[in-house]
């Protein structure tokens, strides 16, 4: 801890800082702006914050020379004051050399409302929540369906998500260089095939052997671990991004800035989920899946080929997970552990909606996504996942069968 404390002391001695004076101009007058929060970060890690004083002055000490990001929190702007360019909330390439006290400017002028309105802020978070929920929904539905037909809580489901994103990356940014939309196709198909392989040659023989469901769960944990290592081996440890649609600018929709690919994600996901719904309701296989999920023995004695249903379920679940992975990678980044990092959120969605249900889980996924993103109104951004985990824990304690699931009878 002494080392940590020493850092800023050393910095002050050296003297690198970033600072400025906030004033807003109106009718030729310069008025200082007090009480605005400025945050200085480096590569995503916050370094320090400062609040402008009565003369509009603020300063943040730095650990040393380098490149920093400086952002102003528009919500702390007083009424009637706004950035002259609302998009310039963050200055992303502020270079500071040794011993420099670097000055930056945030031009302020008269604004109709104080910076970003609550409407815009809430709207943006809602869209972010729907986007996260959209990707979670695709992966979570598969997880739930697998549980429904085989009673397996599959920890390795996360790796299907990762594989979808990674394989798409290989076809897109790697060798063939196809556009992302095209590269997604082999990714989804290959992972669907892998899902079928898993179901047929790993899980089915184990079930035949009579391995207990809990042991299968531990097997899935081992599988998840092994797959993650293999993916890391071939893909590397550093996160990457899809070249297509990178850095897409926001457009104005109903006064809220939205990035088109986020909207596309939500749209694609909803369309696909609707197709899945139709499949489950209308098609013979879909109905068979619901029957096996409800009561396996009954379904079997009604003449349903349970093994075939399970195989189809694996293909469908893997397919959806892979698509979810591509979309998640589109909006965030692709890394060997991306699936694992959202695994617990997948569980949250599944438990909230009901293990074994499909529609409940879809709703649950969107709910989880929205709660996680909205929680940044109160929680620091790095803790937003915690709100999803809290939902998971709370649901398991209060109503483990989920909102739409059926309570299990004893005996």
């Amino acid at each position: 801890m002494l080392l940590i404390l020493a850092f800023p002391l050393v910095a002050l001695a050296q003297g690198e800082t970033i600072g400025g004076t906030l004033v807003y101009r109106t009718d030729g007058e310069r008025n200082p702006v007090e009480g605005v929060t400025i945050t200085v970060s480096q590569d995503g890690t916050p370094i320090g914050t400062a609040v402008s004083d009565a003369e509009g002055r603020w300063e943040v000490p730095l650990p040393g020379p380098g490149t920093y990001q400086v952002s102003l929190d528009p919500l702390t702007l007083p009424e009637g004051v706004a950035l002259t360019d609302p998009a310039q909330v963050e200055l992303s390439n502020v270079a500071v050399i040794g011993g420099q006290r670097r000055s930056v400017i945030f031009p302020l002028g008269e604004g109709a409302t104080g910076g970003v309105s609550t409407y815009v802020r809430l709207g943006a978070l809602l869209v972010a929540g729907l986007k996260l929920g959209a990707t979670i929904a695709l992966a979570a539905v598969g997880l739930s369906l697998i549980y429904g037909v085989t009673r397996l809580v599959n920890f390795a489901h996360a790796e299907l998500v990762t594989l979808g994103a990674v394989i798409a990356y290989l076809f897109h940014a790697g060798g063939p260089g196809w556009p992302l939309v095209v590269a997604a196709i082999p990714a989804v198909l290959i992972v669907a095939g892998f899902g079928w392989l898993q179901g047929r040659y790993l899980w089915q023989p184990l079930r035949k052997r009579g391995t207990a469901v809990l042991s299968l769960m531990v097997v899935s944990i081992g599988l998840s671990f092994a797959l993650r290592s293999v993916i890391q081996l071939f893909f590397g440890g550093l996160p990457v991004a899809y070249p297509d649609f990178a850095g897409q600018p926001a457009i104005d929709v109903l006064g809220i800035p939205m990035v088109p690919k986020h909207l596309a994600t939500i749209g694609v996901s909803i369309v696909v989920l609707l197709l899945v719904t139709q499949f489950l309701q209308r098609s013979r296989t879909g109905t068979a899946m619901r029957a096996v999920s409800d009561d396996r023995d009954l379904a079997e004695s009604s003449g349903i080929d349970v093994n075939r249903v399970i195989q189809v379920t694996w293909i469908l679940a893997a397919l959806l997970a892979a698509l979810g992975g591509v979309l998640y990678g589109l909006n965030e980044s692709i890394s060997y552990d991306m699936g694992f990092r959202i695994l617990l959120l997948l569980f949250a969605a599944v438990v909230l909606g009901g293990l074994g249900t499909a529609y409940g889980v879809m709703a649950g996924a969107f709910a989880v996504g929205i709660v996680v993103e909205m929680s940044t109104l109160w929680l620091p951004a790095e803790l937003k996942v915690v709100s999803g985990l809290v939902i998971l824990i709370a649901m398991l304690l209060i109503r483990p069968q989920g909102i739409f699931g059926a309570r299990e009878r004893i005996g």
Binding site: V213, V219, L233, E382
Partner: protein, 330 residues
């Protein structure tokens, strides 16, 4: 191909502080999982709480011995807090809840919000000086023969660590061989049956969780004292998975299984690591496909495979017979 180097790496790891620490944690997990049948997948949280409890106490000016007490008490409280609402859950729900709770704990400790107390991403350093001051062996002297050498500083940790392992094993053995232990085994076999002859199943499970957690916290403290620093990245779910492999490998529900499992696992783990590193450096075609970092990943892959194979083909591990091994599907 210098096999003695591979062997030496394995042996040193097996007697070293890492194995002692893992053995301690595994003893705790064995009590919870091997004896009581609790699928606690958040076990690493007990180690985190022990380590941070100790370090933060010293941070706030307390003596180290008080820090250790705080760490262990904190783990017992965590067991209580975690167990009371969750122990009545079905086994797979309990598994998910425990892993979620452990992650919440780790993320909160890691956050910049908690940084003033926990050091956030950077963690806490410099709390272990009192411990190393007690070391009777001169810190920089080397002890051992040939390839198998350790410093005096490490030797001290080894001695303390293995003494703790011995005490913990004897303590658990005493509990398990008692009627209390018998009830625990009955609970693992069939909870409803055990209720039907008047035992408060919930209370026993809670006790197993708390005691196992307390022992695991000592492991966290040992690691913290050895490294002289702690950071949240050291307490990820990966640790719990490795502990499960150790417990199952040695023989869940046997007295010495946890220690044996930790020793055998670490021997194979570090020997494989050295082997892969040597192969990568010396064998042309291997060096062509794998970089040094990639070669280092092979051992993790093997851990995952090992867990799968163990559960399916030898769930009773090394020290137990098929009869005593985990029950399979009816």
């Amino acid at each position: 191909m210098d096999w003695t180097q591979v062997l030496a790496a394995g042996v040193i790891a097996t007697i070293g502080p890492v194995t002692a620490g893992y053995a301690l944690s595994a003893i705790g997990l064995n009590l919870q999982f091997g004896y009581a049948g609790l699928l606690n997948f958040g076990h690493v949280a007990f180690m985190l709480v022990g380590a941070y409890g100790t370090a933060m106490t010293v941070e706030f000016g307390g003596p180290l011995w008080l820090g250790v007490i705080v760490g262990v008490v904190a783990a017992v409280l965590l067991g209580l807090l975690l167990g009371i609402p969750t122990l009545r859950l079905r086994a797979d729900y309990f598994a998910i809840t425990s892993i979620a709770a452990a992650e919440v704990l780790r993320l909160v400790v890691r956050s910049s919000w908690a940084e003033p107390q926990t050091g956030g991403v950077f963690g806490i350093q410099g709390f272990a000086t009192d411990f190393h001051r007690l070391n009777p062996f001169p810190a920089t002297e080397l002890y051992g023969i040939g390839q198998f050498v350790v410093t005096g500083r490490t030797l001290w940790v080894i001695v303390v660590g293995w003494i703790l392992v011995l005490i913990a094993t004897l303590f658990v053995a005493r509990l398990i061989r008692s009627p209390w232990g018998r009830v625990l085994k009955a609970i693992r076999e069939d909870e409803d049956a055990t209720r039907s002859f008047g035992k408060n199943v919930f209370a026993y499970k809670l006790q197993a969780l708390m005691i196992g957690g307390a022992i695991a916290s000592l492991a966290g403290i040992l690691f913290a004292l050895e490294q002289q620093s702690i950071y949240p990245g050291a307490f990820e779910p990966r640790i719990t998975f490795i502990l499960y492999v150790m417990v199952i490998l040695g023989g869940a529900g046997s007295i010495w299984g946890a220690v044996l499992g930790a020793a055998v696992f670490n021997f194979l783990f570090y020997a494989t690591d050295t082997l892969m590193a040597r192969l990568q450096a010396n064998v042309d075609w291997i060096g062509a496909i794998l970089s040094p970092a990639e070669a280092g990943l092979i051992k993790y892959f093997l851990v995952g495979i090992a867990l799968m194979l163990l559960i399916v083909y030898r769930p009773q591990g090394l020290l137990r017979s098929r009869d005593e091994g985990p029950a399979d599907a009816a």
